[in-house]
Subunit: 330 residues, 2 copies
């Protein structure tokens, strides 16, 4: 993707988001929107939490994967799908493929977390191990595509994936009415750019913010510089937000003046505890960045109606004590 | 209460549950009902989870407290309410009193958990400390009643509290349609007896089960013996289920042939982890007993449609590592 210019890129539009909503409706949940007086008081704003942790596979990722799988022509779909991911996207694509009854191959790095691999296999996908670097996993994907004819479904640099992720904001805006702002986490940017497309079409006055760990702030730096920053080593416990902002995602966020807000991991873990305690929801650190950002920058949201997407809830409970201890140390 | 005979007791009826539903409607949430394919597969039944952890104050207790507060005549209400509780009922009564704009006094034992006390005070109630035994707290309550004219709202031995707790099952039965069984936790028995009243009226074919920690199995023994067992020392980490089954509650459960299912604390913590992981909900151990009981006795629920009330989500996150370690040891 790098170096590709915007004109040559296939950029999704709001119509693609609407088409995605219709396509995934038989398979995905319309997730609830929850409120909390205590969190409203803490931030000084009216917060509407879209609970994608209650989506199938426990993350918004199912929306994009499901849309990509069902957008394939029948003869192409029959050859299956392939991706590289050791996280939520792998599980999401595996389940999406199962809903269509087609094969799914997931390339995973050696040493990936066992529970995540079990989830991917549990949904019926074939695991293919490779060395833990980008070159190795891209080569493994290419080889599988060549062998099987399967279609690559990239976690975020894919127009149908972006359009699918946009359906969460579509539902939230339909449910909550006029919002002053939307805040979503950003890693590769699929959720952020899909949300931006939905907001621009349905609520042009609604500002979109992306929340990002300071240890993986390539989006903040890319938007500030006006050029994608791709040369960085992520250092954050938010395992869902370590990816590099995709080229299409960058173009969409930049075109709509999206702003990035960065937070430390300690702020994120504190926010995660608040979400667990106040909303009674299990959300992962990569989701809690949004509340951390809202709290840190609360003067910018004072008195406003704010939509928040809680992106996922896949947490390793055995890792919690270490997570809490880390936040307490900082 | 002990020794009082059934004829002399004030027993709530299904009409009281209906009246409670109307009375609390402006104040309480209609909580969502969630499903999980994974948990259905684990138990071999179709489970409908009524999420009272998402109720105000994070527990079903708000229903009963709110009903009791709003059922008081205006001149009586004006003198306030009083109770003894260091847990969810104290917070629930405090918030219920605030919704009516009346004073609330909560007698708490010295040494009670600080976070729970902060919650009670946060809702505007006055705390009154006493020695940690039943005689001391009953004396403190009586003294406050004499001084202020406040009405006592007992956590479970109160017809209006029982009727209010029954509204959770009322909503669940309305939402889920015909159920073969309902399973709820039992401590003092307010939720269990309210649920029983609702089920008996709306779904006479629906069996009611109560789930109970083996370390506080007075309900199981009381129902087996046909007489209330009150002389026992609870030994369970389910802090919401250490109370003794109330006399009215016992009469209602016994009259309707309710069955008790007991589980160990280790089984409960394992079930709690499953609920966190699969439903993405924070539920407290006292809620998880229901899933533990369903799993342990799954042959009795095979293929059935089962309603489950997840009673609360107030967990001390700092105590989690110890909780998990305890379950792993057993």
């Amino acid at each position: 993707m790098r170096g590709m210019n915007a004109a040559a890129m296939s950029l999704p539009t709001f119509d693609d988001v609407l088409a995605a909503a219709a396509r995934i409706a038989p398979h995905a949940h319309v997730t609830p929107v929850l409120r909390s007086r205590a969190l409203d008081a803490l931030v000084g704003a009216e917060l509407h939490f879209k609970c994608e942790n209650l989506q199938r596979v426990g993350a918004f990722k199912f929306r994009g994967a499901c849309n990509a799988v069902w957008a394939l022509p029948e003869d192409v779909a029959r050859r299956g799908v392939v991706t590289h991911s050791s996280g939520n996207h792998g599980a999401a694509l595996a389940l999406a493929a199962r809903t269509r009854g087609i094969a799914c191959h997931v390339v995973v790095p050696e040493g990936a977390v066992r529970s995540k691999l079990a989830a991917i296999e549990g949904y019926g996908a074939a695991l293919h191990f490779c060395a833990p670097n980008i070159a190795a996993r891209e080569a493994a994907c290419a080889q599988l595509q060549a062998q099987t004819g399967a279609s690559l479904v990239h976690p975020y640099a894919d127009p149908q994936v972006i359009a699918g992720q946009g359906t969460a904001a579509l539902e939230l805006l339909s449910h909550a009415g006029a919002l002053d702002a939307l805040v979503v986490p950003v890693g590769g940017g699929g959720l952020a750019s899909g949300t931006t497309l939905a907001a621009a079409a349905l609520a042009p006055a609604c500002r979109v913010f992306v929340a990002e760990p300071a240890g993986a702030d390539d989006t903040a730096r890319s938007l500030a510089r006006g050029e994608r920053v791709t040369d960085f080593v992520p250092d954050t416990l938010c395992d869902g937000l370590r990816g590099t902002l995709g080229e299409q995602d960058f173009v969409i966020l930049r075109a709509h003046g999206v702003e990035a807000l960065t937070v430390t991991d300690a702020e994120t873990v504190a926010a995660m505890r608040l979400l667990w305690t106040r909303l009674k929801l299990v959300v992962e650190p990569s989701s809690a960045v949004v509340l951390a950002a809202l709290h840190k920058h609360r003067e910018r949201f004072a008195g406003q109606r704010v939509g928040v997407i809680l992106s996922g809830g896949n947490v390793d409970l055995d890792a919690l004590p270490a997570l809490f201890a880390l936040a307490a140390e900082e």
